[in-house]
């Protein structure tokens, strides 16, 4: 059909445009030049011979991986008349809500700035630069006075905003109707039900082997684990992103996880990437940002107090401080409903040529932000590699957990999915908790916003994040949250207050993620 052909051409044109600006393009150019020396390249069939060379030498695979990566990350081009904000978020009322929320954050940051008389950004004097460079690898030993700083917002503040989200064109009357939402989220987004989730997460089914279930000590490894590891090694040799993404739906062996994630996220550490990281480090040394203090405070409050992650404190500073200076992150705002905060060079207020983004990457960290990085420290030990992986995870997944959008993996949809699953499949529990004033979302929200980081044991968390990468979706977080409630339903039915319900669900560190998910999706009688 005409329409499909022109849609495909549009997608191809968009991907080509994006890839032209990448390192891969430059590398392919260089390779094409270099291979002209080779005897098998004949000038009369130049184009075909070079294509053949790329295929044999593995460069075609790299290009395939890059295209696959683009298709995964960037939304398909929408209608040609749609303005850019439509691509960020199609629903007008959600865009407005996100705008108001951002304004609140900016006001909070500005007032912190004026109250503490600390500038948003300051160039470090040379002495201070030298000092910071010397202790770059042990910034955790620094104990700056952070008592006056407070996080800009915490997940519970964000939850209040989501609870108050309303579609002005929706019947929000008091009278109960067939579609009254008994939970906290009151917007009618489309969410999947269990039959649809079963179809979507088919590889988690009872008849498919899983790491996290079929690799436990009681199960002989010949049944599943050995073969799965062998396939994983083969996938890594092939260097195929799409195959890796399919493979990891059944979980990743610990030894292969770091490489598999890098392959799926299409991260290969080239010298240019190491150089780029060093440049960011230089930027951190040269300028001190107010946001840095927020990062310090967050790390001290969260990761440093965590039994699993406190050892990685120094790594967290090295990643997060550089992340704030990385202007390449600005690219993701094309498909993020959020927008980067703007400011002007002092004395040039209102002059567009002196407008800059603050922080340079446009992301203001909130309480718990460092927990997105912490689990990755178990996998990657070179700071530049750790940095690249975190940045890619952020612009693919984590940004959706703290911005208001209608995307199926956005936090609003996840909350609604969680509440709908609970209300539909555990109606008694849902009703009971509601009656005692313990709306389930008030407890599970913090789990989902942090993608369960800091709540599950690390090996379980990594198994969960395997599936996020494998399915390229965050919906599994909502399903797991519902599964946890289902698991502790008996105890929850006996509580009589929100505090008691919180206590029942306070400790998730003993939970095994994959059995919970499997039982909830595939073994519960509905």
């Amino acid at each position: 059909m005409l329409q499909e052909e022109s849609d495909l051409s549009l997608v191809i044109a968009q991907i080509v445009q994006k890839l032209k600006g990448s390192n891969l393009y430059a590398q392919l150019e260089r390779q094409a030049w270099a291979c002209l020396q080779r005897p098998e390249i004949r000038l009369e069939s130049l184009k075909e011979d070079i294509k053949e060379f790329f295929k044999i030498s593995g460069w075609e695979k790299k290009l395939q991986n890059a295209v696959y990566s683009e298709l995964n990350v960037y939304p398909l081009p929408s209608h040609p008349s749609a303005p850019p904000e439509h691509l960020k978020e199609p629903l007008v009322y959600m865009r407005k809500a996100q705008g108001s929320w951002e304004k609140r954050i900016l006001k909070s940051l500005n007032s912190m700035c004026t109250e503490l008389s600390i500038p948003l950004a300051r160039k470090r004097p040379v002495g201070e630069q030298k000092e910071l460079l010397n202790k770059w690898n042990e910034m955790g030993t620094d104990e700056p006075d952070l008592s006056l700083f407070r996080p800009v917002y915490a997940p519970k503040d964000f939850l209040e905003v989501l609870i108050n989200l309303r579609n002005p064109n929706y019947e929000n009357g008091d009278s109960l109707s067939f579609r009254t939402h008994l939970g906290l989220i009151q917007v009618p987004l489309k969410v999947k039900d269990i039959p649809e989730l079963k179809e979507c997460f088919v590889e988690l089914g009872l008849t498919t082997g899983q790491l996290g279930i079929d690799d436990s000590t009681q199960v002989p490894p010949e049944l599943f684990e050995n073969e799965h590891v062998r396939i994983g090694q083969k996938v890594l040799v092939q260097q195929d992103s799409a195959a890796a993404q399919q493979y990891i739906r059944q979980g990743s062996p610990t030894a292969l996880r770091a490489e598999l994630w890098a392959l799926i996220l299409n991260i290969s550490s080239q010298p240019e990437d190491i150089l780029y990281y060093e440049q960011l480090k230089t930027n951190v040394i040269q300028h001190d940002l107010l946001v840095d203090s927020l990062i310090y405070k967050d790390v001290k409050l969260t990761a440093s107090n965590d039994d699993y992650y406190f050892v990685f404190e120094d790594y967290l500073y090295q990643v997060l401080l550089c992340f704030s200076r990385d202007t390449s992150v600005l690219g993701h705002f094309a498909y993020n409903s959020a927008s980067p905060p703007k400011s002007y060079i002092r004395g040039k207020l209102g002059l567009e040529e002196y407008a800059v983004f603050y922080p340079p990457n446009g992301v203001i960290p909130f309480h718990g932000f460092s927990m997105y990085v912490a689990p990755l420290c178990f996998l990657y030990h070179e700071p530049y590699k750790l940095y690249q992986i975190f940045r890619e995870m952020y612009v693919r997944f984590f940004f959706r957990l703290h911005s208001i959008s209608s995307h199926p993996s956005g936090i609003v949809s996840l909350c609604l999915l969680f509440e709908t699953l609970l209300q539909t499949y555990l109606p008694q529990l849902f009703y009971h908790l509601r009656e005692i004033g313990a709306q389930p979302l008030r407890i599970s929200f913090k789990w989902m916003v942090r993608a369960f980081s800091g709540y599950l044991a690390t090996d379980q968390l990594l198994l969960l994040w395997d599936r996020i990468l494998g399915y390229n979706s965050l919906e599994i977080l909502a399903v797991l949250a519902a599964a946890v409630f289902a698991f502790r339903a008996v105890n929850l039915m006996e509580v009589t207050s929100l505090a008691a319900a919180e206590a029942v669900l306070a400790d998730l560190s003993t939970l095994k993620v994959m059995p919970l998910l499997q039982i909830f999706l595939f073994a519960t009688v509905t």
Partner: protein, 212 residues
């Protein structure tokens, strides 16, 4: 958007209701919007474009050409086109939509008027409509659209030159020419460098954050 924009006049929507208008409760679930083209001769419709606002299904009718003095008959050219897969949820509710000539059931060569019939069966929405409707007619064939086939589908010229014994290789000069052409091509294509700087000439001394 192919073709020329046709200036149109969108009349106000008419709600269809069953029964007595005064006593019926509830909101109408069918709206009719007439689109006329004053001062424009009957034209060939190429594309209809609009922004949806919570309409679930769309039907379009055009008047059929009849001899004078007989009332014109309306013919459906698009029946129950689904704009929202689930009328109760937000999916598709505010999307930009284009409908093309080839999707229509009847002949669109001489369009005088259009009747859009909007349906929203769900009682959850307070209102529904379509916005920013734009109608396009067949435009003149622009030169850029008609590529010669060889330009859009380049075929590699693989003509192996028969090698003649003893003579200098006639391909040498063609090789040199091709290398020169490649060089020129690479020189012409500029490389995109990543903009890494966030400051202005080393200065990142800022005012407060701006709210606009």
């Amino acid at each position: 958007m192919s073709g020329l924009l046709v200036p149109c006049h969108v009349k106000s929507t008419v709600a269809l209701k069953v029964g007595d208008m005064r006593t019926s409760q509830g909101r109408p679930d069918v709206l009719v919007v007439d689109v006329t083209f004053p001062n424009v001769a009957p034209f060939e419709l190429q594309e209809i474009m609009f922004k949806n606002y919570y309409t679930a299904f769309l039907s379009i009718c055009v008047p059929q050409h009849t001899p004078l003095h007989t009332p014109s008959k309306w013919v459906t050219c698009l029946r129950d086109y689904c704009l929202m897969p689930d009328p109760h949820s937000e999916e598709g509710a505010q999307e930009y939509v284009s409908l093309f000539k080839h999707q229509m059931l009847c002949d669109m060569t001489r369009v005088l008027e259009l009747r859009l019939i909007l349906q929203q069966p769900s009682p959850l929405w307070l209102s529904f409509t379509v916005e920013e409707a734009q109608i396009y007619q067949q435009g003149p064939k622009s030169p850029s659209l008609t590529f010669p086939k060889w330009l859009s589908h380049p075929v590699s010229n693989e003509q192996p030159v028969p090698s003649l014994e003893g003579l200098p290789d006639p391909r040498v000069s063609s090789e040199v020419q091709q290398i020169w052409a490649l060089t020129e091509m690479f020189r012409a294509s500029h490389s995109y460098t990543r903009m890494g700087r966030f400051d202005m000439d080393g200065c990142y001394d800022l005012n407060l954050l701006s709210y606009t």
